[in-house]
Symmetry: C2
Subunit: 327 residues, 2 copies
Amino acid sequence: MTKIGIIGYGNLGRGVESAIKQNDDMELVAVFTRRDPASLQIQSEGVKVDSVDNVSNYTDMIDVMILCGGSATDLPKQTPEYAKLFNVVDSFDTHANIPTHFANVDKAAKENSHVGLISCGWDPGMFSLMRLYGNAFLPEGTDYTFWGKGVSQGHSDAVRRIKGVKNAKQYTIPVEEALEAVRSGSNPKLSTRQKHTREVFAVLEDGADAASIEKEICEMPNYFADYDTTVHFIDEDEFNKNHSGIPHGGFVIRSGKTGWNLEDTHVVEYSIKLDSNPGFTSSIIVSFARAVDRLSKEGVAGAKTVFDIPPAYLTSMSGEYIREHLL
Amino acid sequence: MTKIGIIGYGNLGRGVESAIKQNDDMELVAVFTRRDPASLQIQSEGVKVDSVDNVSNYTDMIDVMILCGGSATDLPKQTPEYAKLFNVVDSFDTHANIPTHFANVDKAAKENSHVGLISCGWDPGMFSLMRLYGNAFLPEGTDYTFWGKGVSQGHSDAVRRIKGVKNAKQYTIPVEEALEAVRSGSNPKLSTRQKHTREVFAVLEDGADAASIEKEICEMPNYFADYDTTVHFIDEDEFNKNHSGIPHGGFVIRSGKTGWNLEDTHVVEYSIKLDSNPGFTSSIIVSFARAVDRLSKEGVAGAKTVFDIPPAYLTSMSGEYIREHLL
């Protein structure tokens, strides 16, 4: 059994809780929160809810701690901090800051003989793997990643953290003309702005300044500055009625050439269509938590990413079984 | 540099030769053949062609030997044999016999401190990885693999090995109704026969008995017995005119559910469209040969499959680079 702890009980934390229930070799030991533990009602029976301040009491009881905070402010601090106490997995998704985050987690994890897997989920995560496989298999080629239409958790979270914003959802929408050009095999050069638009639906706190918040959203580096972003301020009723789901989707395409004179063209496409982004993300994270537990028990330490994990480590099925049934 | 040898110079061997040219960190040392080496004209300048009988003279010069023989009769003997002398990669694709093949290669490789990666390519290979990832990420779900329309090298090879057959091409064709049912998310139960048909175009040797050859094809275990197979006997001119390309394609779909009450459905699809099946297969093989070389230099020994390989080992790009650009 792999014994799991969860820090943070938002959409992702709840998804992790559900995913653990789907895996017979995984056990949820405790959920940790910054809120009053008594105020938190979780779904698993007989599982402890405790304050995040008490997390150090659990080092002997938990094999892997799954960090379900946000990338903007939580994870840059939390992942290196908790990698001192536990093997950890996070879903850090600020692509531009991954090298720094990796270095910080690597130091803390190595000094304390833990494994810290960062940037797990579907992007970064499974989409990253598809980009890597595409580059490895078709070295002369181009890859394209499109997201949506769907809600980006990281981007919604970033908007919600702005002072004066009560609630927000951010939809990422692929630009149809760009998509068609890629699938035609014409290998178009596309800027960030040409590939996607972003649409934000936000509920403001009383007295908040809509104009300055809109500006703050649209100019936010890494998240919105490179995109054409539309911001809609709506009331809470409309928000709850029309923007309560968390669907997502997207695809990674690699088109490339092989042959002595590069005479043959190949197009490889990976696509996902998700009812629930945190549901799929957390299910991937739980599978990588299994791999982290195995690596740690083998004596491995340090920061890792999805690129470092042998796929066989992700499943509870034996090597014999997967060779016979999945190979 | 990873120094590569090739045994067998058919479509796959030529593909490997071209793929090595696309990878700056790979070097082709020699091509080995069962034919008279003087009769073989390869495309790479300054690369030795030698008899397969002399292969043991090259143990110090080659990091990984890529075996480009057929699965029906060559590889079951060759891979364990050459795993005694070299690190090896093969594309063994008789799914039902993989456990036995793995055990034979594992014994030879371990006894001689080599790595033997079996069943590499796109199926088995990349499609296997997609099935594994799908099962790991969506444990409550169903996966489907469809092939084609395209030429199966393994099946064409199996037909060509029948006495009396001069040349042959086998096309695998997905059944359109089955495909539509899967994509609808209805999770249909489909037999092997309901998913694909097989179509063979064969040229006979003078005096061959068409009826007995057709029977031998259609009843061949593992290859044709479980499918509705149509066999066409055609003359050499028609064969050369209409059946000289080796396109292929296919996809792996995993649909599954997450959520506390399995309320959310997700559909994940991986699809490929290939101008040249051996071109793509050999490009994948070369990428895994790089991983085999690295594992061997780390002291690893024994049989491996694509499931055992950390994705980062497949590329010449550094860990820092892929974390910054592909994660």
